[in-house]
């Protein structure tokens, strides 16, 4: 049985194509996903991300508890700031990638992916037993609306009492937006400036309407999960289920920097990750740009002289580059030799290896 966000009626009235995503009926696109993608790059887009999970960890030892439960060093995070981190299992495999917000001295909000948050909430609750910290999964109470794109701040500013120019990237502050109490975070998954607005379900529809109205002249458009996926891919951001899984460690994914061995105390997965960190990886996550127009997609083999040397994890036509792009895990020695191809439905199509991200916004 598929679940709906509080904004489903709004999406239907906008003529959205809905799709099942992790058990939720979510807007895939409202019209042209390319136009939505370009609007976020040049003006702004409005996203319903209410399928994401919000897990609150509260108590005098909430920071220490998260230090033990996750790979990051969250107890040193300043109140009002956010950090990208992960939760791994005992063998170092990634259970989810997360953004952790420190709301105040003894209160954190962990934002997890729709497909994983129930597991993440259970795991964190198990791992923090014995700490003065209480774990509450409030995903069912919270909606999440994101405004993303270079004109986001000018659209949001007139609706809120919060001074947005004082809100840094990866920071969060409670405020009022269009009359509703909102946690305003300067975070996102598009490679652009923007805001994620955590709000109780009952306020989601009026908040969406107010933002739609406020953004009309600035070119704000509703944007679906299809645009979200191509935006994050251009920005080189991993997606759980594609680049990340329980079979992959943070080091395999080139994200070893999120693992903080220098924090005090042990954490779940530490011993396994120390072994992984001590070894050279044999495969690496890289960016690929296709020379032709056919698109490398999730699961396609990366090949070299007819031999399989890797696998595509995500791929799409790139609006910003005008060519198909992909992320892929590829064997190190094949990367050294070059001459890579992707097996696109039986045809070996040449690709070039590039540094990630594919797209970086101009400051």
């Amino acid at each position: 049985m598929s679940r709906s966000t509080p904004l489903r009626g709004v999406h239907e009235s906008l003529g959205a194509t809905l799709t099942d995503f992790a058990g939720w009926q979510m807007p895939l696109r409202y019209g042209s996903e390319s136009a939505e993608h370009n609007a976020v790059r040049t003006a702004a887009g409005l996203f319903d991300l209410s399928h994401m999970g919000e897990i609150f960890v509260v108590g005098a030892q909430a920071g220490e508890a998260l230090d033990h439960a996750l790979v990051g060093h969250l107890s040193v995070l300043a109140p009002g700031r956010a950090r990208y981190t992960m939760i791994v299992n005992e063998t170092g495999g990634i259970l989810d990638d997360l953004i952790v917000y420190r709301l105040d001295e003894d209160q954190y909000m962990v934002v997890a992916n729709a497909s994983n948050y129930a597991l993440v909430a259970r795991e964190i609750a198990d791992r923090v037993l014995g700490y003065d910290a209480r774990v509450t999964d409030r995903s069912d109470e919270y909606a999440l609306v994101a405004v993303q794109g270079p004109r986001s701040a000018e659209i949001l500013a007139p609706l809120t009492d919060v001074a947005l120019d004082e809100l840094k990237y990866y920071a969060i502050v409670p405020g009022v937006v269009a009359g509703a109490p909102v946690l305003i975070a300067r975070t996102g998954y598009t490679g652009e400036d923007g805001f994620e607005l955590f709000v109780l379900n009952e306020h989601a529809v009026p908040l969406w309407s107010a933002l739609t109205e406020a953004g009309r002249d600035a070119g704000l458009v509703p944007a679906g999960l299809s645009a979200r996926d191509t935006l994050r891919l251009e920005a080189g951001m991993p997606l759980y289920g594609n680049e990340l899984s329980a079979a992959i460690t943070p080091f395999d994914a080139g994200l070893g920097r999120v693992v903080r061995f220098d924090k005090p105390g042990g954490f779940v997965g530490r011993a396994a990750l120390e072994r992984v960190a001590a070894n050279e990886t044999t495969r690496r996550l890289v960016g690929l740009v296709a020379r032709g127009r056919r698109v490398p997609r999730h699961g396609y083999p990366v090949t070299r002289d007819g031999a399989v040397v890797g696998e595509v994890t995500s791929g799409a036509p790139s609006q910003s580059l005008g060519r198909p792009i992909a992320m892929a895990y590829v064997d190190e020695d094949a990367l050294d030799k070059g001459g890579l191809t992707v097996d696109i439905r039986g045809s070996q199509e040449p690709v070039d290896v590039v540094e990630l991200p594919f797209y970086r916004r101009s400051k």
């Binding site: 194509t17 895939l28 042209s32 390319s34 127009r293 056919r294 698109v295 799409a316 036509p317 439905r345």
Partner: protein, 130 residues
């Protein structure tokens, strides 16, 4: 709601076929319903060269959108007499004008199709899927 013109024939693979009644040369494209399902089309290829002979039911090309790739099938057998180079250059024509400038190829019919759908039958098919 996508449109389904009365004067065309259709296939279960969501292609339309025009000119079936005179039995000579037919034009083939993708229905508006299929274009909406695909999303923005970014790449169209018809594999055979002009002059090649195709058999009804053959996968003879592909159409890629942001999210997916699908086969193009030959709805009738015969000789490929024209491929729409405009749609190869500008695949978005499939979305903007699926029954007009977004046509894909023309076939001189040698093998009469017997399993094409009428507009009414195709409407029933798509209302069952959506």
């Amino acid at each position: 709601m996508s449109t389904i013109p009365d004067d065309l024939s259709y296939t279960k693979e969501h292609e339309w076929v025009a000119g079936v009644e005179d039995g000579l040369t037919v034009t083939v494209g993708i229905t508006a319903y299929a274009a909406e399902q695909l999303g923005d089309v970014v790449y169209v290829e018809v594999h055979p060269e002009v002059g090649a002979t195709v058999t009804a039911g053959d996968a003879i090309g592909e159409v890629e959108s942001t999210k997916s790739v699908s086969d193009i099938f030959a709805p009738v057998g015969g000789e490929i007499v024209e491929i729409n180079t405009a749609v190869v250059e500008t695949p978005a024509l499939v979305n903007s004008d699926p029954y007009g400038d977004g046509w894909l190829f023309r076939v001189r019919v040698e093998e009469q199709p017997d399993d094409l759908l009428s507009a009414a039958e195709y409407t029933a098919l798509t209302s069952g899927e959506s």
